[in-house]
Amino acid sequence: MSGEPARDDTLSDGRPPVLEPGHTYATVTDQISSIVLARRAPRSWLGGFIVALGLLMVFLYATAYLLATGIGIWGNNIPVAWAFDIINFVWWIGIGHAGTLISAVLLLFRQQWRTSINRFAEAMTLFAVACAGLYPILHLGRPWIFYWLLPYPSTLGVWPQFRSPLIWDVFAVSTYATVSLLFWYVGLIPDLATLRDRAQRRVPQVIYGILAMGWRGSATHWHRYQTAYLLLAGLATPLVVSVHSIVGLDFAASIVPGWHVTLFPPYFVAGAIFSGFAMVMTLAIPLRAVYGLQDFITLRHLGNMAKVMLTTGLIVAYGYLMEIFFSWYSGNEFEWSLIVNRLLGPYAAAYWSLIACNVLIPQLLWFRRVRRNVPLLFVISLIVNVGMWLERFVIIVISLHHDFLPSSWEIYRPTIWDFAQFFGSIGLFLTLLFLFIRVLPVISIFELRELVHATSGEEED
C-alpha cells in the first residue's frame, strides 16, 4: 500500500498495464515461486497467521461447545429460526462467487487482466465455500447425521424431498465445491511442476512432484489441458449462476413477506459478485503490498475490480428499490408492513447502514481518482463486505421476526456464541488462506508466462 503512485507506466490509452514491462519467462517464474520456496516467511505473514489461528481456535471452541450443548446457545429461536447461521452461509457462498467469475467468465471473455488474480480468487472461493458449507450443517442440531441430506437407501426408508430448494442447495453447493476444487487443482498442475523443478530441497521436490503428477509440459498434454480448462470454464459459468439462484430460491419459494419475490435469484447473483469482488480486493491489496507483487497486480486490476463492484452494486441497489416497489405495488398489507418495519422498525439502523455501505459509499468508485487510490479502495472493499453481511441480516431477520400475526412477532438478539462462530469462521478462512499463500503459488505462474509471451511479442522474448 505504501509508495503506490511512484510509478505511472500507463498505456497509450491512459490505462495502467496488466503486467509491468521488463519481465521475462524467467523473472516471473522466479519471483512467484520464490514466495513459496523461500525458507522463511515474512514477518507480516507470521503475524497474520497467528491472528488467523487465534480466530480459528475461537471457531473450534464455539463449535465444540455447540456440539456439546446444542443450538440453544445461539440467539435464534421461533419465529427467527434462521439467523446468523444462514446469514453467514449466504455471505460466505456469495464471496466465493467472485473467484469462479474471475477464473471462468473472464477466461471465456479473454480478459487478460484476470491472470494475476485468478489463482488466489479461486482459493478464496474454495475456502469461502468450505466456511459456508459448515453453517447449514452446524445448524442441523445433530450435524453428525448430516448425510441424511443425501439420497441413499437408508434403513429408515426415507428419501429427500426433491421439490424443495433446500435439497437443491445440497446438490448445488456440493457440486460447486467439487467443480471449484477441480478448477483450482487443474490450474495448479503446471505450476506444481514448476515448483517441483525449482525446489532445491528433497522434501518439497517429492511433495510437489507427487502433486504435479508428472507434468512435463508436452505439447500434446498442453493441448488436452487447455481443452479441459476451457470446458471447465464453460461449465463453471452457468454453475455459479445456478448456485446463487438456488440460494435465492431458498427464500423466494417460501411465502414469508419480503422473501416471496421473483427478483431474488438474479439479485442474489449480483450481490454475490459484488461481495466477492470486494473480498478479492480486500485480500489482494495487502497481498501485493507484503509480497511486492505490484508488477503483477497493477492498478489496472484494482481499477477493473472497482468497476465490477460499481456495476454489480448498482444492480443490487436496483434490487433494493424494486423490493420496496413490489411490496407497494402488490397492495398486500403484509408485504407493505414488512417494508415499513424494515425502514422504520427496530432494525432500521441495520437497513440504513446497509444502504450506506452498499449503495451510497460505492458511488465514490465513479471517480478515477478513487479507483487509483489503493488505501481508499481497501476501505471501500471492507465497507462493502460489511454491507453485504447486513443485507443478509436485513433479509433474513427482519422478515422472520415480523410476519403475519402480531402474536408471533419477536425481537431477535444474537448471543456471544453467534459472534464467536462468525468471527471464528473468518479465522478458519484466513488460516486456510495463509497456508495457501505459504505453500502454493498465489499467482498463476504459467499464465503469467503466457502473458509475457503475449505482451512482449516473439522476437524479444
Binding site: W159, P160, A172, T194, G214, R216, G217
Partner: protein, 179 residues
C-alpha cells in the same frame, strides 16, 4: 540396433518459442513421427506443427454431462414416483420442473469430472517417473526453455543421422536421453 534399447530419444534445447515451433515443423516435414515438444507455456500453432490429432475430450465431456443428467433425472423420478411417493394436496408425483435444478447440477458435475479425469487419463497422468526427468537441463522446461524430443522408437530414428538433423536446427544444446 541396440541404441533403441538404451535410448529414450534425442532432446534439443531452444531458448525461444518460435525456434521450437520451427523445429517441430521441420522435424515433422523430415518424416519424423514420434516427435514431442516441451514448453513452459502452451504454444499456439504447436499442435498443427506436430500434426497432433485433436483431442476427443469435448465429446467425452458431453457424454459425462449427459450421463450425469440421466442419473439425476432417473434418481429423482424413481424416488418421487416409485419408491417414496408423497401425496401433497393431490399434486402430480412426476413433477418434472422441480427436478430440473438437480438434473442441471449433476450434469455439470458429471461433465466436469469427465473433463478433468479424462484429461489426466488421456495424458497418461499421474506418471511419477519419466526418462526426461533424468535430464538435469529438462528442469528448465517449466521455466524458460523449450525442448524438442525425437524419440528413439521413431521408425526413422538413427542416432547419427538424427543428431546431425537436430544440430542443423541450431539448438542451444543437444542431449541424449537414456531410457
Amino acid at each position: 540396433m541396440d541404441q533403441r534399447v538404451e535410448l529414450y530419444g534425442l532432446l534439443a534445447e531452444f531458448e525461444h518459442p518460435h525456434e521450437l515451433l520451427a523445429a517441430a515443423a521441420t522435424a515433422r516435414d523430415a518424416g519424423y513421427r514420434r516427435v514431442e515438444a516441451y514448453s513452459p507455456i502452451p504454444l499456439e500453432g504447436m499442435t498443427e506443427a506436430l500434426g497432433t490429432v485433436p483431442t476427443q475430450l469435448p465429446r467425452l465431456t458431453l457424454l459425462g454431462g449427459l450421463l450425469g443428467a440421466a442419473v439425476g433425472y432417473a434418481l429423482q423420478y424413481w424416488v418421487a414416483v416409485i419408491e417414496y411417493p408423497l401425496n401433497v394436496g393431490g399434486r402430480p408425483l412426476h413433477s418434472w420442473p422441480a427436478f430440473l435444478p438437480i438434473v442441471f447440477e449433476l450434469a455439470v458435475l458429471g461433465a466436469s469430472l469427465t473433463a478433468v479425469l479424462g484429461m489426466l487419463a488421456l495424458n497418461g497422468l499421474p506418471r511419477p517417473h519419466h526418462p526426461l526427468f533424468a535430464v538435469p537441463e529438462f528442469r528448465l522446461a517449466s521455466r524458460d526453455r523449450f525442448f524438442l524430443c525425437i524419440e528413439a522408437r521413431d521408425a526413422k530414428f538413427d542416432l547419427d543421422q538424427t543428431r546431425s538433423f537436430l544440430s542443423e536446427l541450431h539448438p542451444k544444446s543437444l542431449i541424449e536421453v537414456p531410457r
